[in-house]
Subunit: 298 residues, 2 copies
């Protein structure tokens, strides 16, 4: 199977699971507008990179995909809640995301806050229920959930958002930028790879290699975002471009120039691929994902 | 021991646990302002009724208080996040709570949203970590956590807030009012009583009795809130009174009159006490709490 086919096949699995999940919620939960608002952002054309990574790790280790799907879905819910709250007027005040109106533009601010809260809550509710039903795999399930909760929290993704908010309108140091990116984007990408690894019960050296890989693709993801803000088109990105420069934001491009950033991107992508060598040929898809992140147009 | 002493003693246990918890976070998590904002609302003079209920159930059944403390703390964090988000300009737009400036008035809207998110996340992070360390009690710990996650979510507390937001400026039916109260306030009070019961592993008939008790005191709590909005003083309540009437809100008082509401309050309080009879004398403190809820001045 080639990369594009495999990527589409895993993305489809995620999409179908989430679609069914939210259809079921619609029929079970009386708060129609709330569910509609959650559903809107969950189905707003996300690339599903995080849940696909969860499945990819499981598939590489020949684990059952259905067993890790709740982790994939929970991570995507957490990612989506963070986008809804980040877009709020009090935060980044964005009207569009992925070419669609942001949640609060469609459902109002109050509902957007509550839909974000509900997605975060539902992610953990799903993880608890999954653990409760995990039988002899309960401990692994709980430990994988710990990885996700910690990555999403005040020393992970939320910390990244705090640094971002506090850096607004300021030039920040390279160290601060890297910390911000590592937490804001990197932490949840790390969890997407480590949570299934912990659930499956991989040995320490394999977890270490995957964790290094996750660190590199997290950085690559962010460098590419910064490059796309300069080189991308608003059609491809579904949002306005050049906003970093306009807002005088510190980015990889502002720190190292466009060529410097591209060189770094190549460098971390190569490193990401190299650390996977201990897995041999079965790591082919994760390696391709590293290229995909570096070469994507949106 | 009399009621006041026992109440103070349990409240103190909760306060000390939370104080130590957030002091530890301050030393461990680099995002100082975020932790400060979370700390501010956690220590803003809450009555700690929910965590005290958790401890009270454990104490009644001679279970180890330290074992249920994480459930108590997680529920108080969830309660506090909901207050921070409810007070936001896009929601109830309140400047004061318990006589203190609301979180966004002190730390700004962006930080208040993130502090709320972080408290919700931390509550679940704590529950996962607690479950991971629970050894042979892991399954009970996970099941108790399920109770909390479900109560806080889109068919529990968040649903109640959605109904509240959607009812703004409208007269609502008695049924809608009761559903709103049952979810907005009742669900987390229910979880405060059922989570420790599930963790301890009480038999079905005792869980049923506790669940009925929780339902009654949840309603009592809300009726009393409505009465206090008419009869209380702003000094005692730490917020403006009469706001329900001013905002033409449907309440127990607007539906049944002040005397009718008081009669209902007596009625549900008596029922709450009656269903505890199967526990005999050891239920004395939970019974006193029902009176306390009905007689409180704030």
């Amino acid at each position: 199977m080639n990369f594009k086919e495999e990527l589409m096949s895993l993305t489809l699995l995620v999409d179908n699971y989430l679609l069914e999940y939210f259809e079921r919620l619609k029929s079970e939960v009386p708060e129609t507008k709330l569910i509609e608002s959650m559903h809107y952002s969950m189905m707003a054309g996300g690339k599903r990179i995080r849940p696909v990574l969860v499945l990819a790790v499981a598939k590489m280790m020949s684990a059952e995909l259905s067993e890790v799907m709740p982790f994939a879905a929970a991570i995507e819910m957490i990612h989506t809640y963070s986008l809804i709250h980040d877009d709020l007027p009090a935060m980044d005040n964005d009207d569009y995301r992925r070419g669609k109106l942001t949640n609060h533009k469609v459902f109002g601010e109050a509902m957007a806050i509550l839909a974000g809260d509900a997605l975060l809550n539902e992610a953990f509710d799903l993880l608890f229920k999954t653990s409760a039903k995990a039988g002899e795999k309960m401990e692994q399930s709980v430990k994988a959930s710990c990885v996700i909760a910690s990555a999403a929290g005040m020393d992970g993704m939320i910390a990244g958002q705090v640094i971002d908010i506090e850096s607004e309108g300021k030039q920040i140091s390279e160290t601060t930028l890297k910390t911000m990116y590592r937490k804001k984007t990197g932490a949840l990408i790390m969890a997407s790879i480590i949570a299934p690894a912990v659930f499956i019960g991989l040995p320490d050296d394999e977890i270490k290699a995957l964790s290094e890989y996750a660190g590199y693709i997290g950085v690559a993801f962010q460098i590419k975002d910064d490059i796309l803000d300069v080189e991308g088109t608003s059609e491809e990105l579904g949002k306005s471009v050049g906003s970093d420069a306009k807002n005088k934001k510190t980015t990889y491009v502002s720190l190292y120039g466009l060529d410097g950033a591209k060189k770094m991107l190549r460098n971390v992508t190569e490193k990401a691929i190299e650390v996977l060598n201990i897995f041999g040929e079965k790591a082919w898809f994760l390696k391709e994902i590293a290229y995909f992140i570096a070469e994507r147009r949106n």
